[in-house]
């Protein structure tokens, strides 16, 4: 029988090793099956808390990434001009000597002249710490061009945020609203969660200009116009207030809705909270009508009603200010619908749905104790969950829009309650946060006193000089971006080139493809990187060190290339100090372990960084005798302590039984490996909700070292730190914005969320550039990495510009026709594809499919460079100059890159279009890679 020819029970391989996937930032647990020393099969680890056994398309293609012909093979030193691709292979000793030489000179003179920026970095706890030890404030990871609006708005509102730091209560939500999400970092968890919602028949509403992916499976698709979510959300708030359908009990218990705000127009204290002599915020007690400090046991704040303060000034509760603002007819659905590109009917219906679902209280049988010690027999929750990501944050009005969404959550009492959005451990953290960024005390050979990235509470925490000029190369924590919590990676190269605020010596990049898909205007970026000072003949950015694992576009522009391993060849640490993988049920962290040895002359970047730290004599990286403190990253992961008892990994500390806090445990990594490379600490059910005011949770979190004190966290409807910046904008205080920025600061640093048109709308003529242009993450591709992957590139080897049928018709466009897409800053020529499920005033494409010819070891005639394109060419980094000042087109509060603000015009392209434009000259792959590819083919 032919059937017998198939062996049914062959073992998959000869060895299985657990580790953590890194085909994207989701950090799923994987089992790697090896056969004869080669990777045979990768599958999801069924026990892993993140992915519970599933594996996405990227993760499943890990094999092809690991064996990619574009892997770098040895350190390289540039021998031609930048961008020419002529390199000499060098050994590690030489490479490290060169790097040490450049860096030591900088550190001995002016550490700021090192700009160290990292992209898809999962070791920010190390890289940031290294920068601090080096003594440069010029450090950030990719958050500033990614989703800092989301992060900052959340941290200053609820002490946590969407992004991957929170999750909907998939098991109890009845209504789920998803704002602007294509994939998110919680790639697999969202998909698992959506299937749970579906299985329970919960309703899903997706607010997104495009109907694909998650929006495709939603019960309702709200295809609004990009950049208008703020209006939509505030209009819903308007309706809920008008209908008196907000959760007053939640507001008075858990938010600052009852906190009194001083009314002193024109005064230096206007808009700040009323405080008593001890500096405690005041409320008016509902029963006694007395002014008492917020949170005093036995009191409850009045949510409305003017009070007179001891100094004679008046004050109003936050809730009243809020209601006054949003009950204004300007927020009525009829007033906003047209701008949002949806009907007023839709807004009313969704508001009604939210109100209805929120009032269907859900009860869980878990008794719990609140932070005042009051025992509750059950947990009551609002089964309305929300999640949002870059669709709302990647706009210049994103910070306030994200704030608006958090305010909506608070108003309906849907924060960390059963059925609502929940914090993932280690969140919530105290809010408003207070952790001033390091960088005021830059001195040669000296570490900063604080980590370079922090969370300012007011003007005194900014990194500005007396004139108000920025002190960081990316202008973060300046008046241009006071809450630039994650830096502004997208401005670094332009500012470094312009020497604004000062020239730098070395740009040190790790894992960020800045010469292509990670920059707006990539052609301009390439120009800046290759531009020379006419007088000296030197590059304006004199040194560029780059650590990548593959031959990306940026490698071609580096002076010194430090080749990293693949994710299957190294230790990594997914630390609670950085981006956690905890869940709403408790904290978790993870490691990566090498499952195969590198077959090339490459080293894990973290090993290299620690090695450099030792060579440079960075205090934390050397022993008292000056020799290297850590032998490797693995050594560092185990032995480094950030604070006593707190290290990169929280599991199996001390003697191997301690969690969270405990002395370093030399056998910690073995414990992790034995447990599938992750640690998870499940909290008891009484600590699963209301964590901001749940005594069991707060105490457990303190014991674990997630927070410092078990104090309740009051959710901030009204964000006072913003008012502090605003007051400076109005001329109060000693630390003032430069005159030409005052109005801007006063306008945008509004302590209550508001909506304003995205900047690009003002910068570009609406009639000339009538369409919004946005991108989406394709599920089977991760930014630029996917195209070198022989499997993934078969799925997306080229991209199209999707356009609504009516819009196409008006332009006389047929499906497949070629168009020229122009913005005020650039143009792209590409083919269109007509689809119904897109907002008529919006065009979109998949992100990062277009490649520079020759990069990634793709053939020069590969579709990625001939028929693929980047939308980045039409996205501007800066606004048109005003008063001689060049401001980024980013969010004015956080500096978040406003990718999705882009405005374009479309016209038919010339008939003889041969391929997408622009088509910059081919990049030349390093000889070593070409030779290896030939050997592999032979």
């Amino acid at each position: 029988m032919p059937g017998e020819t198939i062996a049914l029970s062959n073992p998959i391989g000869d060895t299985v090793k657990a580790t953590t996937c890194y085909m994207c930032a989701c950090r799923c647990g994987i089992h790697v099956h090896l056969k004869d020393g080669r990777v045979r099969y990768i599958e999801g680890n069924p026990d892993h808390p993140v992915n519970r056994g599933v594996l996405c398309g990227k993760g499943s293609a890990g094999i092809m990434q690991h064996y990619s012909p574009a892997r770098l093979r040895s350190p390289l030193i540039r021998v031609g001009e930048r961008g020419e691709g002529r390199f000499r292979e060098i050994g590690w000793d030489e490479a490290l000597d060169i790097a040490t030489g450049w860096l030591a000179r900088i550190r001995a003179t002016d550490p700021r002249r090192l700009a160290f920026f990292t992209g898809r970095d999962q070791s920010q706890a190390l890289t940031g710490f290294w920068a601090k030890e080096f003594g440069t404030p010029n450090f950030a990871a990719h958050g500033g061009f990614c989703s800092v609006n989301m992060g900052a708005a959340g941290l200053y509102s609820v002490g946590g945020s969407f992004w991957e730091f929170g999750e909907p209560d998939w098991e109890h939500a009845r209504l789920f609203l998803l704002f602007g999400v294509a994939e998110d970092h919680d790639s697999n968890p969202i998909k698992i969660g959506l299937s749970r919602l579906k299985a329970r028949g919960a309703r899903i509403i997706s607010i997104n200009p495009v109907r694909t992916g998650y929006s495709a499976v939603a019960d309702e698709w709200v295809g609004l116009r990009p950049g208008t979510d703020g209006l939509f959300i505030l209009s819903i708030i308007h309706l809920l207030l008008a209908a008196e359908r907000v959760d007053l009990d939640f507001l008075s218990r858990y938010t600052n809705g009852g906190w009194l705000v001083v009314r002193d127009p024109g005064g230096a204290g206007d808009g700040l909270f009323a405080r008593d002599a001890e500096g405690r915020v005041l409320i008016q007690d509902r029963a006694s009508r007395e002014l008492v400090e917020a949170g005093r046991p036995g009191t409850a704040p009045r949510l409305a009603g003017e009070v007179r303060l001891a100094d004679g000034k008046t004050a109003l509760p936050v809730f009243q200010l809020l209601a006054e603002r949003y009950l204004d007819p300007a927020y009525a659905p009829e007033a906003v619908a047209a701008r949002c590109g949806i009907t007023a009917e839709t807004i009313r219906r969704i508001a009604a749905e939210i109100a209805e679902a929120a009032s269907a209280t859900i009860t869980l049988p878990h008794a719990w104790t609140d932070s005042e010690g009051v025992r509750h027999a059950e947990m009551h929750g609002r089964p309305v969950a929300m999640h949002a990501m870059r669709g709302i944050s990647a706009h210049s009005n994103g910070f306030q829009t994200c704030r608006a969404l958090h305010v909506l959550q608070m108003l309906i009492g849907a924060v960390d309650t059963p059925g609502s959005w929940r914090y993932k451990a280690p969140y919530p953290r105290p809010t408003p946060p207070h952790a001033p960024p390091g960088g005021k005390d830059v001195r040669p050979e000296t570490p900063l006193s604080a980590m370079p990235l922090g969370m300012p509470s007011g003007p005194e925490d900014l990194l500005v000089d007396r004139e108000g000029a920025p002190q960081r190369i990316d202008h973060a924590f300046s008046w241009e971006a006071p809450l630039g919590l994650h830096g502004l990676m997208h401005t670094v190269i332009a500012n470094a080139h312009a020497g604004d605020p000062y020239p730098i010596d070395t740009l040190f990049l790790y894992m960020a493809n800045m010469a292509w898909n990670s920059s707006p205007e990539p052609m301009e970026t390439a120009r800046l990187l290759t531009d020379k000072d006419e007088r000296t003949g030197e590059y304006r950015i004199p040194h560029l060190i780059y650590a990548d694992a593959y031959f990306s576009e940026t490698v071609a522009y580096a002076d010194l290339v430090l080749p990293d391993t693949t994710y299957l060849e190294r230790f990594d640490c997914i630390s609670i100090l950085d981006r956690p993988i905890g869940s709403a049920e408790g904290p978790a962290d993870a490691i990566r372990q090498p499952v195969v040895a590198p077959d090339r002359d490459v080293r894990p970047f973290q090993d290299v960084l620690i090695d450099l730290g030792g060579r440079l004599g960075l205090p934390a990286f050397v022993k008292p005798d000056g020799t290297a403190r850590y032998a490797s990253y693995a050594d560092y992961i185990v032995h480094h302590e950030r604070r006593p008892g707190i290290g990169p990994l929280a599991g199996w500390r001390g003697n191997g039984t301690q969690s969270g806090r405990g002395a370093p445990n030399p056998s910690q990594l073995e414990h992790y490996i034995a447990n599938g490379c992750f640690w998870r600490h499940e909290l008891p059910p009484e600590a699963h909700y209301f964590k901001f005011a749940n005594r069991d949770y707060l105490e457990a979190a303190t014991a674990l070292g997630l927070i410092e004190k078990p104090e309740r966290i009051t959710l901030q409807l009204y964000a006072e730190p913003l008012q502090r910046f605003r007051l400076a904008g109005l001329g109060h205080g000693d630390i003032l914005p430069p005159p030409d920025l005052r109005e801007r600061v006063a306008r945008y640093c509004d302590p209550l969320p508001f909506w304003y048109p995205p900047f690009e709308q003002e910068a570009a003529d609406e009639a000339e550039f009538p369409l919004s242009a946005i991108t989406q993450r394709p599920m089977p591709m991760y930014h630029s990495w996917g195209s070198q992957n022989a499997w993934l590139r078969q799925i997306h080897a080229r991209n199209f510009l999707y356009i609504a049928p009516g819009t196409a018709r008006a332009l006389g466009l047929e499906d497949g026709e070629w168009v020229k897409v122009s913005s005020r800053s650039g143009s792209v020529t590409c083919p269109v594809r007509i689809m119904e499920g897109v907002n008529p005033l919006t065009v979109w494409t998949w992100n990062a499919i277009g490649k520079r010819a020759g990069a990634w070891m793709l053939a020069p005639d590969a579709p990625e460079s001939r028929q693929g394109f980047l939308l980045n060419h039409v996205i501007a980094t800066f606004l048109p100059r005003r008063n001689g000042r060049r401001l980024p087109s980013s969010d004015p509060v956080t500096g978040q890159a406003a990718w999705y603000d882009a405005r374009v015009r479309i016209e038919k392209a010339a008939r003889d279009t041969a391929g997408t434009l622009p088509h910059p000259p081919d990049l030349r792959p390093p000889e070593g890679l070409l030779a290896a590819m030939k050997r592999a083919r032979a």
Partner: protein, 314 residues
């Protein structure tokens, strides 16, 4: 369906070969053809050459020609296997027919009986070939009642013209083959026209809506294909020919394959000796060329349901 050159060559050549063999086997026993051994042998050799050449060419289409022998094993279910088997089996009476005739120097009754058997084999083989296509439900232009008559008539027609050429070559009376050519040619034209009319008028039962089962939502449009570049399915089943182009080719096939050959056949009937021979040979060659175009169209105009998934018509 993407025209597979080897298969087109095969069906065209072996179609003519089987037609020729069938006519030879059927007409000789009734004394309707020259009984000379050389005529018999030459005609048989021509028929077998056309058949074998075709069969060989068809194996070029295979991924594993060396395993071609396996292709006869599944005759119980597979028309392709049946065709292979019939083709192989037909060699037996055909060769025996030739051998007996040659040995006896004339078509003796046993030879005649073998001739009839060979003719039967030829017809069965042609029938099987047609059924390979006619049984494929995903291709509506193939699963069509006119396909089998088409294959049989075209085989007969091209066989008859070849026979006419052979009779002319052997200076024998060629009026019967010529008349047969005319008859079969006219029948083939009619069958072909009906076939074209049928495929042009019969809409596909399967649509994007039935292929996806999403018709209850409304009109179904393909938005994105699974892979941005072409794959095997699209290369194999996704061939597209413009309607205008197809019409032109249909006309060409009719003129080259039928109108001119038939006119030449009539001319051959009227003309004497050498010109008649030339006309007959020309007629046969042109008919084969025309049928080659027709067969190419048979593929090119055929659509496969799989392309419904790629947003195309079936």
């Amino acid at each position: 369906m993407t025209p597979a050159l080897s298969v087109i060559l095969f069906t065209t050549a072996s179609g003519a070969g089987y037609g020729l063999l069938a006519l030879l086997g059927l007409l000789v026993p009734f004394g309707l053809l020259p009984a000379t051994v050389w005529f018999g042998l030459a005609t048989l050799v021509l028929a077998l050459a056309l058949i074998s050449g075709g069969l060989l060419s068809s194996t070029l289409h295979l991924g594993h020609p060396e395993r071609a022998w396996r292709a006869v094993t599944q005759w119980r279910s597979s028309w392709l296997a049946r065709e292979g088997l019939a083709a192989l089996l037909t060699y037996l009476p055909a060769l025996a027919f030739g051998a007996t005739w040659f040995l006896a120097r004339r078509p003796t009754p046993p030879a005649a009986a073998l001739g009839v058997l060979a003719a039967a084999g030829a017809i069965v083989t042609l029938f099987c070939t047609s059924m390979i296509y006619a049984s494929l439900r995903p291709v509506r232009q193939w699963r069509n009642a006119w396909v089998t008559p088409n294959f049989l008539l075209l085989g007969g027609y091209s066989g008859a013209l070849s026979l006419a050429a052979m009779t002319h070559l052997f200076h024998a009376g060629a009026s019967l083959p010529c008349a047969l050519s005319l008859l079969l040619g006219l029948a083939a034209i009619i069958a072909k026209l009906f076939y074209w009319r049928s495929i042009d008028r019969t809409p596909s039962v399967s649509t994007a809506e039935t292929a996806t089962g999403l018709g209850h939502l409304g009109r179904v449009r393909a938005l994105d294909a699974p892979h941005t570049e072409e794959n095997y399915l699209m290369r194999e089943m996704g061939f597209r020919i413009a309607r205008k182009h197809a019409r032109r080719l249909r006309g060409l096939a009719l003129i080259i394959g039928f109108v001119i050959p038939l006119a030449l056949a009539i001319a051959a009937l009227i003309l004497g000796a050498l010109p008649a021979l030339a006309a007959a040979v020309m007629a046969a060659l042109l008919a084969l060329t025309g049928i080659f175009i027709e067969r190419w169209l048979f593929f090119a105009e055929a659509t496969h349901t799989v392309m419904l998934y790629y947003g195309r018509a079936a």
